[in-house]
Symmetry: C2
Subunit: 261 residues, 2 copies
C-alpha cells in the first residue's frame, strides 16, 4: 500500500498546491492554505491528451478550494502528462490520427473506444489507491465527503466506471463528448448518486443521441442534463448550477485569510 | 391607455403584494417592502388551467423579491383565474377533454395548439399593456431591466411570441411541456436574448424531439437546455442555475429589514 509522497509545494491566493507521487502516478493536491479541519475532497479527471494541471482544470480546482474550502486532487491518466506511454498506447494514438486523416469515422470510433476503455481499466484502480492514500492524510481523513468533479470527455469515460465501483463517491459531475459504448452504459446503470451531466450540444464527433442515451442510463433519479451550443473543444459552459457540489458534499468553513478575489 | 389600478394590498416577510386591474385584466405585483429605488421587473406566466397566484409561481416570485430585490408581475391569462371564459374557450377545453378521454392524441394535439395559439394572440398585447403601465410606476420606471420568468407549458407558449416582439425583455426563462408548432418555431427564431430552457425529460404528451427542436430554434447563442427526469406535472427542478436572472438583469440592493429566512 503506497503513501502519498509530496515532491513540491507552493502557495498563492490562499491555495496550497502540492505535487505528489503515489507509486509511479504523479498527482497534485490543491488545498485551503489555512485549513481549519477536515474538508470534502473532489477528484478531477482531465481530458484526452491533456494532463493533471491543464489550465481549465486547475482554475476550477482553485475555485473549489477558495469558494468552498475543498481539497481537490488530479492525477495524470496512464500515458498522459508526466507518464510514459506504452507501445500499445502509442499505436492507438497513431491509429486514431490515421483514421481521422483518412476520414474513416467508424475506425476512429472503434480505436477510440478500445483505447479509452484500456485507459479506464488502468486508471480506476489508480484513483482508488489515490483515495486510500489521501484519506490517510489528517486534513482529509476517512469521513470527509468525496465527489467526482469530472469534466467532459475522457475525464468522464474514466469517472463513470470509477463511480460505479467506488461507494465513497457521493456525487459526480460528468460530461459527454466521447463515444458511448455498452460497457459504459452498463457502468452508468450502476450509478445511483446525484449527477450533473454536461452535454456539448453540437459535438463534431459524438451524436446527441448517444449523449442522451448515457444520461438516461444513470440509475439515479437526481440527475440533470445541461446542454450548451458548441463542440466540446470550444464550448462555453454558461448557466450551470454552480452549487451542485456544495449542495451534495457540504462546504468547509472558509479558510480565514483566504482571498477569494 | 389604461393605468394600473391597485385593488388590494398586503405585506409579509418583506414582500409587498398588490392586486391590480389593468382594464379588465387582473394581475398581481410583488415588490420589496422597503424598495430603495427602481429595481428590475420579472414577468411570470402561469401554466394552462392555473392562475396568477398559483402557489409554485407565487413562491418563485417571493423568492425573486427577497433574493434580488426584484418586482415580479403575473396576470391571469385569458379565460383563466378570475377572468370569464368565452364560448370558444369552453368549447376548446371540452374538445381537449373529450379527445383525451377517447385516447385521440392527434386530435388532442391539434385542439391544444389552436387553443394555446388563440390564448397567446390575446395575451401578448395584454402583457405589453401591463409593461407599459408598470413602467409608469415610479418604483419601476422606464429604465429598469425586464426579464421573462417563464415557467414551463402555457407560460412559455405565451412567453415566446411575447419575447419575439417585445424588445424590452432582456432575458427569458422558458420551458417545454407543450406542443411545438411552426408559428412557435418562427417566433423562437426571432429571439436573440439569453435563454434558460427547462425540459421535463419524460413528458407524457410532448416528445423530447419537439422540445429539442424548439431549443435549437432560438437565435441566441447564449442558451442553455436543462433537463430533469419526469413529466411536467410532477417534475422536481433541481440543479438549475439560480443566478440566471441576476446575471442578466442585475440585482437591486437588498431591502434593509427584509428577512430572507
Amino acid at each position: 500500500m503506497h503513501s502519498v509522497r509530496f515532491t513540491a509545494q507552493s502557495s498563492s491566493a490562499g491555495v496550497l498546491e502540492r505535487d505528489f507521487l503515489l507509486g509511479e502516478v504523479p498527482g497534485v493536491l490543491w488545498s485551503p492554505d489555512l485549513a481549519p479541519g477536515t474538508a470534502p475532497l473532489v477528484l478531477m479527471g482531465h481530458g484526452g491528451g491533456l494532463h493533471k494541471k491543464t489550465p481549465a482544470l486547475a482554475a476550477r480546482a482553485r475555485d473549489a478550494v477558495t469558494s468552498w474550502g475543498y481539497h481537490v486532487v488530479a492525477i495524470d491518466a496512464p500515458g498522459h502528462g508526466d507518464r510514459p506511454r506504452s507501445a500499445a498506447d502509442d499505436r492507438a494514438r497513431a491509429d486514431m490520427r490515421e483514421a481521422m486523416t483518412a476520414g474513416d469515422h467508424e475506425r476512429f470510433k472503434s480505436v477510440s473506444i478500445a483505447y479509452t476503455t484500456s485507459l479506464a481499466e488502468r486508471a480506476v484502480p489508480e484513483w482508488q489507491a489515490t483515495l486510500d492514500a489521501l484519506q490517510r492524510l489528517p486534513e482529509i481523513g476517512a469521513g470527509a465527503p468525496i465527489g467526482y468533479g469530472g469534466g467532459i470527455s475522457m475525464g468522464t469515460a474514466i469517472g463513470i466506471p470509477l463511480t460505479a465501483v467506488e461507494p465513497r463517491i457521493a456525487a459526480a459531475i460528468f460530461g459527454a463528448g466521447f463515444f458511448v459504448h455498452e460497457d459504459l452504459l452498463a457502468a452508468a446503470r450502476q450509478i445511483t448518486v446525484p449527477i450533473q451531466y454536461l452535454v456539448p450540444w453540437d459535438d463534431e464527433l459524438v451524436t446527441r443521441e448517444s449523449a442522451v442515451e448515457l444520461f438516461d442510463a444513470f440509475a439515479t433519479e437526481e440527475k440533470t442534463l445541461h446542454a450548451n451550443p458548441g463542440d466540446h473543444r470550444r464550448i462555453r459552459w454558461i448557466g450551470l448550477d454552480n452549487e451542485f457540489l456544495p449542495r451534495h458534499l457540504g462546504r468547509a468553513p472558509a479558510p480565514s485569510g483566504a482571498d477569494q478575489a
